[in-house]
Amino acid sequence: MLQTAMNWLDERLDLTDIKAFVKEKGVPLHTQEVWYYLGGLTLFLFAVQIFTGILLLLYYRPSAAEAYESVQFIVTKVPFGWLIRNIHSWSANLLIAVAFAHFFSVFLLKSYRKPRELTWVSGMLLLFLMLGFGFSGYLLPWNELSFFATKVGTGIAGAVPVVGHFMLRLLRGGDDVTGATLSRFYGLHVAVLPAIATALVGLHLLFVQRQGMSVPMKIERRVNAGEPLREMPFFPNYILRDVLAWYVALALLAALALFYPWELGTKADPFAAVPPGIRPEWYFLAMFHTLKLLPSHIWIFEGERVGVIAFGLAAAFLVFVPFLDRKASRGERSPVFTIAAVAGLVYLVVFTIIGHVAK
């Protein structure tokens, strides 16, 4: 049956090149190959987000008056609405966790080195986009926690030098978080970010397919010395392993959705007092807590502004890592960048934990 369909398509589209590519494509086999699956897992969770997001779109209403009620309707009245909403929320969090793991594995394995600089840059931009998805999606249920967290988050954007106030107003659609902010975040979340993300994902995958998987530098040196590189066929050996990992993720998502349902909380009230313990989603906690710890002034500069500039510089550094790490490009060891990656990982883990337990 499948063969018949393939033949039918082949007859019309001439799939010879594609069939040859699929047949020839191999994935390197070595001790670090497990990290390859994180990319596929991120892609799977992104697909889950698109699928569940489209279903939520059918009922969600992006206005301050109706947003909360529409989500309440989804989780109480729509058949399996609770499951779709919980999976969307959990999948978003798992997606960012897996994307971070993918980022650190690539960073530590120096897979960004020549000729994969552009794969890294597109991946970094995708990571930032995922954080943007998380930030914009968090406000959409229009509950108390998300409302005030967005107020704090957009307030931080206001601390960016020169364009801060413009950015704050652009994000909020005014001076304060209102229904206008919700409309903007909704537009960003369901149109702008998905469009950019889809293009970038396509580009990222194209680069990966064109260049193949990177191998660790140690193995690359051995291969360069004439040692043969063991490989497994991409289809079906690797793709089936990927699918296996996706099924495990799906089982985990279903279990999390049932046993740890995402609370809806109480509806946002712009006139209510700020409730205690307002904090952003876990993936912004490290940054949030760092900004909290900064003194009001560092030398003659505003502490928060210095922090925001530092995070901006760190993000720029990450995007340009392949161009800065010249040693790795030459196939040499670059311990400074390894230390930077480990320090970044330790910083994120420690500050996220401290931010979580801090009152």
């Binding site: 499951l83 497994m232 079906p236 050996n237 089936l240 296996l244």
Partner: protein
């Protein structure tokens, strides 16, 4: 027709000697200068205290406004001239007894003058005081009773709204207790029935729900001594007035009690069941005809209709309470498991309101009326419980569904793993 002779003094002084609005003065004040350095503390303390926070000093009043005399001279004889020849105002010394009332009333009963400082402030304190037990006893020559200075202080007087004022709501009980908890001072006073005036009111009040609300709950509207007894016109509420006094805050309870059979029987109204100063937090245990129930004090025996009514009302309240608690626990359980229950929670809140209404209705001592309210509450609780049971069913359905899904996913995972093993083996060959 004025009843009190000292009130005549007050009004006469108020009319003839009310000072013009005081202005801050930069002129030398020999009163403060000399008195502050005197070795006798009785004479130096007022001068020193008056330099601190004092609403009168802050508004520009000086020693002479109450004590008279001439502050412009350092000569003791001239500045303390009782004849008034050496100054615009004769020296009056330390006001005592009725003179204190007259001194304060010179300004505080002067509506025109007070309007320039505190337009909203009442000017009938002296008149009210004349109707109080304190005022009547003072008029009868008792110099031991409280006057203005006893509660407000003489020097260092703060606004009533100042938390450090002795008459700020949280301080009133302690201020009254300075005299009323002093057994020696109260020894000569008797209640109308001839029994000794008790001195445990503060101790009792400190056990009360009112004291807790005022001091621990920071609820400044919670009653303290003056809210029931009056402040300037302080008297014990008369027997017939108790329900009115309690009813100023507990209006619905007072209204229900007004229509009850007990209204005819209870001499002391609310106090009969709740006490006066030691008003404890009411509980359902107070209702009924057994155990610690207060009704049992009068109603007992199987042929007592009152006892049967009390037991019926208590039984109904306990039943609804149990229904609400049970349903609340069920909602909490399914809510924790991710079922949306906000509509049910709202309905259950309504059932709780019915419980409160039943407790209120109980004050009319009319079991059928209580039963009607309880019955409404039971209906709501039953509907919520049914909805909660549906939620439990939904939860169970979800768990079964998950079990089946996970089973299917597991089968696919195992199948994929077996297939992979087969493919790998083939590749190695």
């Amino acid at each position: 027709m004025l009843q009190n002779s000292w009130l005549l003094v007050v009004l006469a002084l108020a009319v003839t000697a009310a000072p013009a609005a005081a202005q801050p003065s930069s002129e030398p004040n020999s009163c403060a200068t000399c008195h502050a350095s005197l070795p006798d503390q009785r004479l130096s303390t007022p001068a020193k205290t008056f330099t601190g926070p004092d609403i009168h000093r802050e508004k520009g009043f000086q020693c002479i406004d109450c004590h008279g005399g001439n502050p412009a001279t350092a000569d003791k004889a001239k500045s303390h001239d009782f004849s008034g020849r050496e100054s615009a105002m004769a020296f009056r010394g330390k006001p005592t007894g009725a003179t204190i009332i007259a001194t304060c009333a010179r300004c505080h009963s002067d509506a025109e003058l007070m309007r320039t400082y505190a337009p909203k402030q009442r000017v009938d304190q002296a008149t009210e005081y004349a109707t109080s037990v304190h005022g009547k006893r003072l008029d009868a020559g008792d110099r031991n009773v409280a006057t203005c200075a006893s509660c407000h202080g003489a020097h260092g007087i703060r606004l009533v709204s100042d938390a450090k004022s002795p008459v700020f709501p949280t301080n009133v009980a302690a201020t009254c207790a300075r005299c009323h908890a002093d057994a020696k001072r109260m020894a000569d006073y008797k209640l109308p029935d001839g029994s000794p005036l008790p001195t445990h009111q503060l101790a009792d009040y400190q056990k009360s729900v009112h004291y807790t609300a005022l001091t621990k709950g920071n609820d400044l509207s919670a009653p303290t001594c003056n809210d029931c007894h009056g402040n300037h016109g302080a008297v014990p509420p008369g027997v017939g007035a108790i329900a009115n006094v309690c009813g100023t805050c507990h209006a619905v309870f007072a209204q229900k009690f007004e229509g009850s059979v007990h209204q005819q029987i209870f001499d002391k109204g609310c106090v009969e069941c709740h006490g006066n100063h030691a008003v404890l937090k009411p509980s359902d245990e107070m209702l009924g005809a057994t155990g610690h129930a207060i009704c049992a004090t009068c109603h007992s025996g199987s042929d007592d209709k009152g006892a049967a009514g009390a037991e019926k009302m208590r039984g109904g309240i306990e039943h609804l309470k149990a229904s609400v608690d049970r349903t609340g626990a069920l909602l909490a359980r399914i809510k924790n498991a991710g079922i949306e229950v906000s509509d049910d929670e709202l309905a259950l809140r309504e059932a709780r309101t019915k419980l409160t209404l039943a407790r209120t209705e109980m004050h009319a001592a009319n079991p059928p009326a209580v039963d009607a309210v309880l019955s409404d509450g039971e209906k709501i609780a039953a509907a919520v419980e049914t909805s909660g049971q549906r939620g439990l069913g939904e939860l169970s359905y979800r768990r079964r569904g998950l079990g089946v899904s996970l089973g299917a996913i597991l089968i696919v995972i195992v199948g994929l793993a077996l297939k992979l093993r087969q493919i790998d083996r083939r590749s190695h060959r």
